[in-house]
């Protein structure tokens, strides 16, 4: 029973951790007038915190540093259903149907050509870098 309460608390604090980093990201964006979205800054902040924690744990215990299990669980739950979270905004496209119809040709051409080019460029450059020996 005691351990179950502990798990609840740490799941709740993991949710709080995500919210705090998001809020910090939004605050940083406003304070520094950055063009980068607040949640992306929050993600970078959490990544930095995890990397620092990992470095500290490796130094103290010489062991591989895993993500805290509760945070891992909350992240897996949120990201496991990530697609669902886009649906409400996606449905908003009904309010832009006339724009979508009038610009269907430039949009369609831009999507197809740029996606094929991006796949080709990324794959070709990465394959070339992997073939060349490290200096």
């Amino acid at each position: 029973m005691r351990s179950r309460i502990y798990i609840y608390v740490s799941i709740l604090s993991s949710i709080a951790l995500l919210l705090v980093f998001q809020l910090a990201g939004e605050a940083t964006r406003h304070a520094l007038a950055l063009p980068i979205p607040g949640p992306v800054l929050g993600m970078l902040g959490l990544l930095l915190a995890l990397a620092l924690r990992g470095a500290w744990l490796r130094w103290r215990h010489q062991a591989a540093a895993e993500v805290p299990p509760a945070l891992e669980q909350v992240a897996a739950t949120l990201l496991g259903h990530l697609s669902l979270l886009f649906v409400p905004a996606g449905v908003g496209v009904v309010t832009h149907l006339s724009l979508l119809a009038s610009e269907a040709v430039p949009l369609g051409a831009a999507l197809v050509v740029s996606t094929l080019l991006a796949v080709a460029v990324g794959g070709w450059l990465m394959a070339r870098a992997l073939r060349s020996p490290a200096p």
């Binding site: 995500l18 919210l19 980093f21 998001q22 980068i36 979205p37 607040g38 949640p39 992306v40 929050g42 993600m43 959490l46 990544l47 995890l50 990992g54 993500v67 945070l71 891992e72 909350v74 992240a75 897996a76 949120l78 990201l79 990530l82 697609s83 979270l85 886009f86 649906v87 409400p88 905004a89 996606g90 449905v91 908003g92 496209v93 009904v94 832009h96 724009l99 979508l100 610009e103 430039p106 949009l107 051409a109 831009a110 999507l111 050509v113 740029s114 996606t115 094929l116 080019l117 991006a118 796949v119 080709a120 460029v121 990324g122 794959g123 450059l125 990465m126 394959a127 870098a129 992997l130």
Partner: protein, 239 residues
């Protein structure tokens, strides 16, 4: 009897719970069909839930604003979910340590071609300012892309749909294109798919092998960060 039924309907259609429940049910159904069809990119559950919900709204005459009163409870989770992307990215850092030399070249090139290539082509074919801002971040994962689109003065909902279409295009056409270009290294194939076609491309990469998928997820995360930093700066520079 009929009058009572329509009374209930009028009441339900006004309740925020309606939009919320409808969204979850439509997604569950679309996700089930997607799994039944072997997770084919063309059966993408987001695309089909959006189509079904748009048709339901049109058929019932419920406005998007009314629908969103309920659906916003799902929408707010996008922020924390974006922050949570740090967890898989942290786990992929060991891959980054091994592959940083290739990624340093391949990722910025892919990101620039994907975003500025799309903007240039759409501009040349006569697309307006709002459309250009909406299409620019289309290659990165939806929560990041919608945030960038909003910052650039685009329409986040249009961006969401363009991102999904990009993912489907990349996942369907990417692997045969890479084979045709004789890119056979699973690490290079993964990076190409993750950087150009985000989560949908990454799911396709995991179908090829775990190694391809791991490199795709890392490329997806880094491409998202890179685009979020570079694109708004490029946008300001271009005026």
């Amino acid at each position: 009897m009929m009058a009572e039924l329509s009374d209930i309907w009028v009441y339900l259609a006004r309740d925020p719970l309606f939009g919320l429940t409808l969204t979850v049910l439509a997604y569950l159904a679309a996700d089930r069909v997607y799994r039944r069809l072997g997770m084919h990119p063309l059966a993408n559950p987001v695309l089909w839930s959006v189509i079904v919900l748009a048709l339901v709204l049109r058929g019932t005459g419920i406005s998007y604003e009314r629908y969103f009163e309920g659906a916003q409870f799902i929408h707010v989770l996008l922020g924390p979910a974006t922050v949570a992307l740090a967890v898989p990215l942290y786990r992929a850092l060991s891959t980054l340590r091994r592959q940083w030399r290739g990624l340093l070249v391949a990722l910025p090139a892919s990101v620039l071609v994907a975003s500025l290539g799309a903007v240039a082509l759409a501009w040349a074919l006569g697309a307006g300012q709002t459309t250009l801002a909406s299409v620019a971040p289309k290659a990165v994962t939806t929560p990041i892309a919608m945030g960038i689109s909003e910052r650039l003065g685009g329409l986040p909902s249009l961006t969401a749909v363009l991102v999904i279409l990009t993912g489907i295009l990349g996942a369907v056409l990417g692997p045969p294109l890479l084979s045709w270009l004789k890119v056979r290294d699973p690490r290079a194939r993964g990076v190409a798919l993750g950087a150009a076609a985000h989560g949908i491309g990454t799911a396709r990469a995991f179908n090829e092998s775990a190694e391809t998928g791991a490199h795709a997820s890392l490329a997806m995360g880094l491409a998202g960060v890179l685009t979020a930093i570079l694109l708004p700066l490029a946008w300001m520079a271009m005026g």
